[in-house]
Each structure stands twice: as structure tokens, then as C-alpha cells.
Symmetry: C2
Subunit: 391 residues, 2 copies
């Protein structure tokens, strides 16, 4: 069969707030081929990703994604990989294309999985999926007491692991940051997993990060995530050398295979965190998972949004038993919560990879109607994109 259509649904909370919550909007992607459908999701800036779908060509290596996707033969996993390669080459100079491709690629895996009646992780060659320890992903509170309260709330919800990040962390004093980490540890208790996400706050300043290591070590933090911007390889490696007991985690900003390989080879991360909705979809995320596993680096998803994105992000390392952590959106926006009919519930602190065909997730099209935003893009009076209607 051939790819007949690709549709982009821009969904958003009515009021998007200037806070770190990345679940306030979403870009849902539907691919149709013959009588079959697949669903995917792109991370970040829906309008810009939409623009890269059907913008005018700039030259042979700067084409819109549509030029590499519409009308393509799609019967097998090999077809998905071929389309992914073609899109990368045709859109080499179109920076946003990697994010847009991600949602399309995810939808293609979902589609082939639905056709075959098999979950994506099996299509990827993994005989079985292993449950992951879900960590509740949270923002630090404005003060340590709020952080403590949030940690306690996480525990009451049945989680055995939590990550705190962003908010005030790294912006105030070393003491204040330490207070937040201690509060989080107190709220979680000594037995549970505590992770810290610095949200790139120190850019590439190793010294600022080094001053925070002592509190992280004392609180037995499982990893320090994104002390620096993605790709600041030398800074990551220097900090890792200074931190024998707290490994580094990073990689969510990677938008292609080599950026992730570089984080593994040259940044000395202990955990590579891939957002399937950014790196180029499941195809690329699976390549990263294999590369990481061969080198003893643990994979973990980056997911702050919906359960569709969550399932997509887990498939590439579902079969790697020792890669046993999973970022779980603990307090998504109503949009993130309402996004899917199928929910991936946490039971005894664990989350299971769906066994349904494809991603095993159905978007809740009825619930999404109220979040729909209508986009229209014209060039020289001609409409090159108009939001489709949610079915």
C-alpha cells in the first residue's frame, strides 16, 4: 500500500502558561495508507513542525517532509526505515524537519503494527517487553517545603521513584539547591529512587555544577540530568569525572542518531534519555537503544506529555530488561491526561508496555475536540496548510 495522507492536529490548552510544563500543547499525527491508520506525536512547537510539512522547497536538500512521505510504498518495517533515510537526506538543511519526521515515523510504526496485529517492540525484534520502574516526573517547588509536599504526594500515589527538576533549581544558592534536594529525599524516604534534572541551567559551566554534587551524593541521587545543554560533550565528561557516585543523564535534545552516539561516546553519560518525538521517531530511537546497550549505557525515555508519546518512547528499549527505568508524566495538563482512551497505569510502581497492536494506544478523538487549534498557512495567496477536522 501507499501513504495516502498525513494529517497534523495541533492541540493546546486554552491558556499556555510560562512554566516548564511541556504537556500544555501537542501535535498529533495521523498517517493513512489504504484502509489502515497509524498515530504519532511530535514534541514541541506544533506550528513550526506543521510549517515544515508542506513549506515550499528551498533546494534539493531542503525539501518539505511531504516530498519524502506522501505516496511512498509502506508495507514493511524496511519501508519505514527507507522513508526515514529519504526524509533526512531530502530535508538535510531544514532544521525543524527532524521533529516533524519523529511524529510521522511513530505513526508509521503504529500503522504497520496494527496491520500485523503486533506490538511495535516485537516488530523491532524484541521477543518480549519488560515492565519498567515508573518515576514520577515533577517540577521542583518554589520553596523546599513545596518540594517536600510534592515528594510526599508522589509516594502516596504509589510510585517508588521520582524525579525533580527545573523550577528554582540551579538559579539560586548552592545551599538553597541542597535544601530542595534534601526535601525531595525526605519526602520520598530512603528506599525510593530520587533523580534530579537541572534543565540545562548551567549551560556548560562545570564549576557551577560541581558545587551541587555534594548534596546530590549525600541524598543518594540516582542521576543528575542535563546539567548542561545537550551536546556540551566536554563539560559533561568533566563533570562525570568529578562525580564517581552520581552518574550523568542527558540526550533529550538530540534530534538525530549521531548526536545521541556522541553523548554516549564523548559525554560519559550513564543514562541516555531519548525523546522519540524529537530524535526522528522510533526508527532512530531504536538505533540509539542498540548502540547504548552494546556499550553498557542505560536507556530511558524522555516523556513529559501523553500516553501515546509514552508508549512510543518505551518501545525501542522495551526488551532490554536491565534498562528498567521509565519517565512517567505524573501531573500532565488536562490535555495530556485526556489525550488517549488507553491509559498506561502505574501498578506497584511499575508500568507495562502495551501488548495491543502498534503502540497499543487509542487517541481520544472526542475528548480532543475542545483542544483543537486551527492553523492556516498561505504563500502567495495559496493555502499550503489548513488544519484538518478531527474525525
Amino acid at each position: 500500500m501507499k501513504i495516502d495522507s498525513v494529517d497534523f492536529f495541533y492541540l493546546s490548552m486554552p491558556n499556555v502558561l510560562d512554566v516548564g510544563d511541556g504537556s500544555q500543547d501537542a501535535l498529533l499525527v495521523r498517517v493513512q495508507a489504504g484502509n489502515h491508520v497509524g498515530w504519532g506525536e511530535c514534541e514541541a512547537s506544533p506550528l513550526v513542525s506543521i510549517a515544515s510539512w508542506n513549506c515550499p522547497m528551498s533546494h534539493s536538500a531542503c525539501k518539505p517532509l511531504s516530498a519524502s512521505v506522501l505516496g511512498e510504498q509502506i508495507d514493511t518495517v524496511a519501508d519505514i526505515k527507507r522513508i526515514n533515510r529519504k526524509a533526512r537526506a531530502n530535508s538535510l538543511d531544514l532544521l525543524q524537519a527532524d521533529h516533524t519526521l519523529s511524529g510521522i515515523d511513530i505513526a508509521l510504526w503504529d500503522l504497520i503494527g496494527r496491520v500485523r496485529g503486533e506490538p511495535v517492540y516485537k516488530l523491532l525484534g524484541q521477543p518480549r517487553a519488560f515492565r519498567k520502574l515508573a518515576y514520577a516526573s515533577q517540577l521542583f517547588g518554589d520553596d523546599p517545603q513545596t518540594t517536600l509536599d510534592r515528594a510526599r504526594a508522589v509516594m502516596r500515589s504509589g510510585f517508588k521513584a521520582a524525579k525533580f527538576g527545573w523550577g528554582p533549581y540551579g538559579l539560586g544558592s548552592v545551599k538553597s539547591d541542597a535544601d530542595h534536594v534534601h526535601a525531595a529525599r525526605e519526602g520520598l524516604g530512603s528506599e525510593n529512587v530520587l533523580l534530579v534534572d537541572a534543565g540545562t541551567v548551567w549551560f556548560d559551566d562545570v564549576e557551577k555544577a560541581r558545587l551541587r554534587l555534594e548534596a546530590l551524593q549525600n541524598c543518594k541521587v540516582g542521576w543528575l540530568e542535563e546539567p548542561f545543554v545537550s551536546g556540551a560533550l566536554n563539560a559533561y565528561r568533566k563533570l562525570a569525572d568529578l562525580s564517581p557516585s552520581v552518574p550523568m543523564a542527558g540526550g533529550e535534545g538530540c534530534h538525530n542518531l549521531h548526536q545521541a552516539m556522541n553523548m554516549i561516546d564523548h559525554a560519559a553519560v550513564g543514562y541516555i534519555q531519548i525523546d522519540t518525538g524529537r530524535i526522528g521517531g522510533i526508527t532512530t530511537a531504536a538505533q540509539v537503544a542498540q548502540y547504548a546497550a552494546e556499550r553498557g549505557i542505560r536507556c530511558v525515555n524522555h516523556t513529559f506529555t501523553t500516553h501515546l508519546a509514552l508508549s512510543a518512547s518505551l518501545q525501542p528499549y522495551a526488551g532490554l530488561e536491565s534498562h528498567d527505568l521509565c519517565e512517567y508524566p505524573f501531573a500532565p495538563s488536562p490535555l495530556g491526561r485526556d489525550f488517549t482512551q488507553t491509559k498506561m497505569e502505574v501498578r506497584e510502581g511499575q508500568v507495562e508496555i502495551p501488548e495491543g497492536p502498534g503502540l497499543g494506544i487509542e487517541p481520544d478523538l472526542k475528548a480532543l475536540q475542545v483542544y483543537m487549534r486551527r492553523v492556516e498557512i498561505k504563500v502567495d495567496g495559496q493555502t499550503i496548510f489548513q488544519s484538518p477536522t478531527l474525525p
Copy 2:
């Protein structure tokens, strides 16, 4: 003064062809502050870069560029750097933002230079600018005879250096590729500089590239550019180790400082090729130039388009005497050719950095009228972008 407005002018040839010529469209940027104006240019996909200027915010680290630029204080070079940093943080998750920022940053340097009556290279702390040896940047012909003819034409135009790239190179047999390189060398004569650009054709396949080295060595090629995609650090380094006499060149795809640092530190390139219109503007390109110079890596611009982009790309390393090569758009489209009133002519094979204030370049607004494309973007019926009229 404050930044009052930023305008984007999408310009394009009436028919954009599916060929490697990157000068078929352009995105001109005008920044106005008080009574002053500055001009810049973004590389690649004008519509997508426009969308990232004023798209709705997704969250606190995924804002449109306008949120970090409009209304900002702009009196000094330090203000430009501050705005650049602010934009990177506010638009961390908006991939295309780096390309859009590039044009804005260039325009801000131009503006401050015009206010001060000084060329940008002086604002960057370089006491004088050195002439560069211009290499004519060309596509390989469809067959070796065409390549030979093109090389001869370049010599007749007074150039002493040329680069051939893209077209059939790397896609056919090793013999056919060698024939093209020999034809280019024959056309240039033995005295002149010959460079080869593989246009990322081997992705990260070291063996395919290795097979081409012998012909490059025999033809005394000055560098092999982009054998692999930008960021394929390990592949670059392996090939560099196999090629003692032909250095590697790369970096045009870098869209931030660390990606360029990584090419210098981990890819063993001999030349770092920065496109000021992609990496985040003159601010970031100047950081890369300093980093490269300190490590004995030579800087060279990536410019295939206009003389505005050419001036912007040369400013960051204008004062580095031994970094003496310059990519020069040899056969730009009529749009690329008509873009500026001021032309940077090649004399005795050399090009001079303009001594006029700012970039020393005036766009030819009258000539550009016929290339103007009108963009309109609406979200929920509200116009968030509408192309301005060229003055």
C-alpha cells in the same frame, strides 16, 4: 534604544528547481531600533523560520523568538550577546529557532555597526581585516567533461581556487568519482587550489569514503568536505586518520556553539566551516572562530547565497590572517546576484572584507521586489504573521 520591530522578507526565484543550488530562495531580516536599521539573513527554509518567529508558546523553554527579541534594550555589543543567550534559553526546545536567531543576530551586529560607524569585524575586537583567497563554489557536472569545462570557466573568471561538490559525486563508482576529480584538477591547472565537497553523501560510511581518498591525494585536493553528516564525529575522525595529506572540512550543519566545538575536538577536522546564517549568527560564529584559532584549526565560511550572507560569514574570522580561504558564490541564482547593491568583487583571486559600517552591504530593495513571496499564518482565525511590504 529598544528593538522596535523585526521584519522577515521571504524572497524566492519564481521556480525553485530540485538541484543543489542553495541560492534559489532567501530570508532577509530587518531589525529597527529608534531611527536605526540593521539587515541580516537566515539560511534555509524561509517559511519555517518565519513560523518560529511568532508561533504560540509551548512552554517556558519553547517560546517564539519574538518573546526574546522585541522590546529588548540594544545599545552595545553586550546587548547582542545577552539577547542571543536569552533566545537560546527561551527557545531551547524549538529546533528551528537557531536558524531564525541567526538572521536576527546578524542584523543586530549590522545595526550596532551602523550606529557606531564601524565594521562588524572591529566591533568583534579585530584591529584589521585580511583579504581572503576566494574559492569559486561549484557543483560537479553531470559528467567529467562538464566538470572540466566548469573548472576552465572558473579560471577564466580570475579565480585561483575552486571547490566542486554535490551532483553525481559519491553516488557512482569510485572510478567515475576519480574521473571528476581529475577533470577538475586538469581544468584548474596544477598551481591553483582544488577543494572537494562530498555533500554528506556517505552518511557515516567510512569505507565508501576511504575508497575515494587515493584520487583526492593524487590530485592534491586541499580538503575533503562533508564526507559524512555533520556530527558523525567518530566517522570523521577515522577518515582523518586514514588521510594524512588531505584534511577533512565540515561544520556547516552546526546550529550551536557546542556542535562546532565537537567537530573541532572530536572529529579531527582541519577546517571548520561555519554558516553564520545557521549557527546562531555572528555572536556564535565569533565564539567558534576564537575556539578554532586557539586550537590551530582553520576557519572558513559556508556561503552559497548572497553578498550580505558573505559579508556576515567573513566578519568573525576577518582578522585571522592565516585563515585565508573564503567560499565565494560563483554562480548564484539571479536572486542571489541581485540581492545587494554593494558587491564584494574578486580581484586577483582575493576578496576584501567591506570597510563600511556594520556589514558594509546594502540590500537592493528595489531589485528584490519581484522576488517577494507573501506569507500569511493564522491560528484560530488570528493572523500571527503577515509578510511586510519591502520599503
